[in-house]
């Protein structure tokens, strides 16, 4: 299986030399397969956003290497190919929309790639339809809700036809409705368009049906596995200050009280099914 992104022994410090800052990333080794839905969780300062910026060469590792489709991010001649392959969506939707009209903003990426106008039109239509914002193509961004703006930002990345989208806490500034819109859009893109998704978040519920969950703490990978494997480790997660999904927490409490219940229950449906059996 081809790996879309590989991180090999990646360490990173924001400043080197005299005033050496403590490393933000410590010897990280990760490999992501094509088409996977990966969730990265960790509390503030765990290094997850710094890691995200390594995936499209906004930051370069101090030690080690990051490869995007076998292109080394340190190799300047691949820079634009890397950024086109791995698109990055940021936390604040307001600060990543460039143009004053939705469709022009979605066209911004393809325009930068030097794609012919007719092809850009097709891509804009495809991207806006994929995130369900086609009816809003002539709107100015400030007339949209937070969730809609974030979907426009995602469309702006999709229009560049990336193979992988890295989302850095895309729902942190949104209300619950906006959050639901964005998450279902991301899931749809992963399932229907086969785009690899790396979702960085601190909402556990958002990664419950991911293919793989990675937990970071203090610049290191603490846990790595399927959601069931990861959320089973309630004690470990609690120790580094993370919450588990409420249902999992409930199952954990019940187990402690001596009730025989599996520790890998993640959704309400699973819980209901188990209890009613």
């Amino acid at each position: 299986m081809a790996f879309i992104i590989r991180a090999q022994n990646v360490s990173f410090c924001y400043s080197e030399g005299e005033s050496k800052s403590p490393p933000v990333l410590k010897d990280i080794n990760l490999q992501f397969e094509k088409g996977e839905f990966i969730g990265i969780i960790g509390h503030n300062g765990s290094g997850k956003s710094t890691l995200a910026k390594h995936f499209n060469a906004l930051l370069l590792p101090t030690k080690g290497n990051v490869y995007v489709k076998d292109m080394d991010t340190k190799d300047a001649k691949h820079l634009w190919d890397i950024r086109q392959t791995a698109g990055l969506v940021f936390q604040n939707p307001d600060n990543q929309i460039v143009a004053a009209i939705v469709e022009e903003d979605v066209a911004f990426g393809p325009e930068n790639l030097g794609i012919p106008p007719e092809e850009i039109r097709k891509r804009v239509e495809y991207a806006l339809k994929a995130v369900g914002m086609w009816e809003y193509k002539d709107f100015p961004p400030h007339m949209l809700s937070g969730g809609q703006k974030q979907r426009v930002a995602i469309a702006g990345i999709i229009a560049m036809k990336p193979e992988c989208i890295v989302l850095d806490e895309p729902t942190a500034m949104l209300d619950p409705i906006g959050r639901r819109e964005v998450i279902s859009t991301i899931k749809k893109l992963n399932k229907e368009e086969g785009i690899t998704v790396i979702l960085i978040t601190h909402f556990m519920e958002e990664v419950v049906d991911a293919d793989r969950v990675i937990v970071m703490d203090d610049g290191k990978v603490v846990l790595d596995g399927t959601p069931k494997e990861v959320f089973k480790e309630v004690e470990v997660l609690k120790k580094i200050g993370l919450d588990v999904p409420q249902v999992t927490e409930l199952a954990h409490q019940l187990r402690k009280e001596g009730i025989d219940i599996p520790s890998d229950i993640l959704t309400i449906e699973e819980m209901v099914e188990f209890i009613c059996r």
């Binding site: 950024r83 086109q84 990055l88 600060n95 911004f108 930068n112 106008p117």
Partner: protein, 268 residues
Amino acid sequence: MFRNITIGQYVPGDSAIHKLDPRVKIIITFIFIIAIFFINKFSGYIFAMLYLWLVIRISKIPFSYVLKGLRPVIVILLLTVSLNMFFTPGGTVLYTLGPLKITSAGLKFAVFMGLRLIFLIIGTSLLTLTTSPISLTDGIEHILKPFSKIGVPAHELAMMMTIALRFIPTLIEEAEKIMKAQMARGADFESGNIVNRARGLVPLLVPLFISAFRRADELAIAMESRCYRGGHNRTRMKKLEVHTRDYAALFITGVIVVLIVWNRSWAW
């Protein structure tokens, strides 16, 4: 307080004037401005007036909107007219007010200058009334593009204008939010004299500036990760196309210019 601020003075519509290619409209406006300076007698203004009247009628913009454009320059207008009126030598003295004299030549020249200014302003505001800021930016970028070889940063200018247009509403919203937050803590923006009011704006402007810089920083990173590398090798989704109506507009403007220039040699 900020709600009623609109960007530019664009009046949306779908008239033939609205649909003209922005490049053509900008060029026509320039031709018109230059033509105005060729007028050397009152009869020449008849053609200019006819032309403007035609444009206003076709664009279906209410006349009051067009006149509104004159309001901000009324002081300059009055100043120009009165300076020319009192300080142009020659002609017969019509009226004396202390050391000031109004001469017939002065009066004529003053009215002349006044008309020239009014026509200039109406002509240019017709451009901004019928062209959205976005297509205006597109037009400017395309017109300046040939000059980028001699160092005119055409793409950069257009990009800056686009970003400004994009962020003005966002920053207005933010200013309102900060203002409410400061008012909740007892800041006073509405009373006192001008000096006090200006000082009252400090707790609004400082956070606004800091946030604007933070936004600029994040936007730059977001643009870079969307492969932005300046105007080099960049294509545009929207292509500007010159249609028949653009040629027609250029032709009519040309006729007016010829009439104005010809008018210079007339007796009256």
